[in-house]
Symmetry: C2
Subunit: 303 residues, 2 copies
DNA sequence: GACAATTAGTTGACTCAGTCAATTATAACA
DNA sequence: TGTTATAATTGACTGAGTCAACTAATTGTC
């Protein structure tokens, strides 16, 4: 239990830090973009196959407001809209060259501001402050984030495809061939999805999707683990293991004898989760069509 | 120099913490008060002899906006305005009973929210996070606050009186007799103020007054140190010593042989500054008319 | 296969915090 | 005594964000 003095200290911290955040914010505002606009642009840049609806869910923004913002971005040449071939209600949003330039500019401003603030500290202080921040962040997230794991809904399909691709793209530089492959397997999976044999769980952090895992029936005894993914900020906090536990429980309940998964060599963090759950590598295949030197691995677990 | 990864960590911290601040803010907003209104009410409650102008300066708020806010507070019975006897442009603002109740309610909401967030941590984590916050706060303030020490202007008179009284009141529970005494001595001091023999410096933090110190001539050889004051958040950061250095330099330059000051026994922090600058206690008088058991002390320094 | 219910996105009308500029009333200055 | 500065108010406005109604396409169901 905190004393009144300690709470006063925290209020003091809040005041100082709020001030600092305001400084960064006002630097952004000088560019002519709203903070919300900045967030939206950033989210678009982070999202493959982005739609207005994904943005609305991910950022908790009013639909009408979003619609107008997107219209404005289009008018200013920051984004391009393309109609979906499969569902003509949906318009995909993609950053243009100019859009990328602008979001980079905004990110630079933010980074430079942070650098400027922290470079006034000497090296030891910089290090101490940084470590303290990481510690606080982890402790507070751990204690306050509302985490739920729920079955997938139709609206999650776009999320799973989009984020799966984005995260692999961003972190592993995979090619367009991989992208088409993901589209196909996700749509195939959802189409054939059967409650009794398959499973697709969505991890939500504070009401926003932040990870996924799936089990797909291959035959009576064999299941494939798929779409295992965690947003970067959710990693190293045990959620990977929790998702994996749920998926393997599902497999045990359904009587599968073997679970396998396909992954690429570079996915080091995920490998660790696989290993701790008893998976072992049984084969590897060259997949250079997905990117230079990419090797796909097959891991298996006997239940 | 920070690495890109470290900056990303800090961005992550900012995001998490901004979110947390937003939560607290939205709890305040639920009461029907704007965040700005909350700040203004708080500042009114902290300020003796409060005027709209003090609030404008202290909080950097537009005059018209402030005027309307104050009108609203008055209409809702949170404050009372009284015309100044000496300057009929000035209207003094004082919280009513209801106003105090409301500001306490707001403060409680904020404190409870903070408590709720931190009580989810275990004791060690609570302690670590608290210490880390205090450390970050100090380092960042140290590095980023813009501190200036400047001669006083007419507009500072109200500040010096108001804060001097408020801080003594709040921290030492002094009586109304003391209050009248401060009014008198400040007005006397300013009236008789002479650039060549007297000195009144204002410490500013980010453009906002945050402390003061003064030297008043008593006779050719003797000066009195007065109005030595620091806002709580500015203490323990060396500003007391800096102000004291400036004041004593002034005394040396003007050829004073003796500097004395009057203080009350309870002012432990200030005593330390006095001692390190060579002052020693020469007498003490009973001042129970200022409050129960208050003892005034006279300290002197031979230059 | 038709009709109800959903979902993606748009449009209209509005709210309300905050700003800019002009005005009144008093005090200070020279 | 007229000019300048200051305290406070009033008027007219901006612009981020909200609420609700609407269109158009899709899905679910009997």
């Amino acid at each position: 239990m905190f004393s009144a003095d300690q709470i006063a200290d925290i209020q003091g911290f809040n005041k100082v830090y709020q001030n600092l955040l305001k400084q960064i914010d006002s630097a952004i505002l000088e560019t002519g973009y709203t903070l919300t606009e900045k967030d939206v642009l950033l989210e678009i840049s982070k999202t493959e196959r982005c739609t207005a609806n994904i943005l609305i869910q991910q950022l908790n923004i009013d639909r009408s407001y979003m619609s107008r913002m997107i219209a404005k971005f289009e008018k200013h040449g920051l984004i391009e809209k393309t109609l979906s071939q499969t569902d003509s209600r949906i318009r995909y949003i993609r950053l243009t060259e100019l859009g990328h330039k602008e979001i980079n500019r905004l990110a630079d401003i933010q980074n430079n501001h942070i650098s400027a603030i922290f470079n006034k500290l000497n090296d030891t202080d910089q290090n101490n402050v940084w470590q303290a921040m990481v510690m606080i962040r982890n402790k507070l997230s751990e204690a306050n984030d509302v985490i739920t794991i729920r079955p997938f809904a139709q609206s999650d399909i776009e999320y799973v495809i989009s984020r799966h691709k984005t995260l692999y793209y961003a972190e592993r530089h995979l090619s367009g061939t991989f992208s088409a492959y993901v589209d196909e397997i996700v749509y195939n999976f959802v189409e054939k999805y059967n409650d009794r044999t398959d499973c697709l769980k969505i991890l939500e952090c504070n009401g926003v999707p932040a990870g996924s895992i799936a089990i797909a029936k291959v035959n009576k005894d064999t299941a494939q683990l798929r779409f295992f993914m965690l947003e970067p900020e959710m990693r190293q906090r045990g959620f990977g293991n929790r998702l994996m536990d749920m998926a393997l429980d599902f497999c045990r309940n359904k009587g599968y004898k073997t679970v396998f998964l396909l992954t690429i060599t570079a996915q080091i963090v995920a490998r660790h989760v696989y290993e701790t759950h008893g998976f072992h590598k049984v084969a590897s295949y060259d997949k250079s069509e997905w990117g230079n030197g990419v090797i796909e691995e097959r891991w298996e677990l006997e239940i």
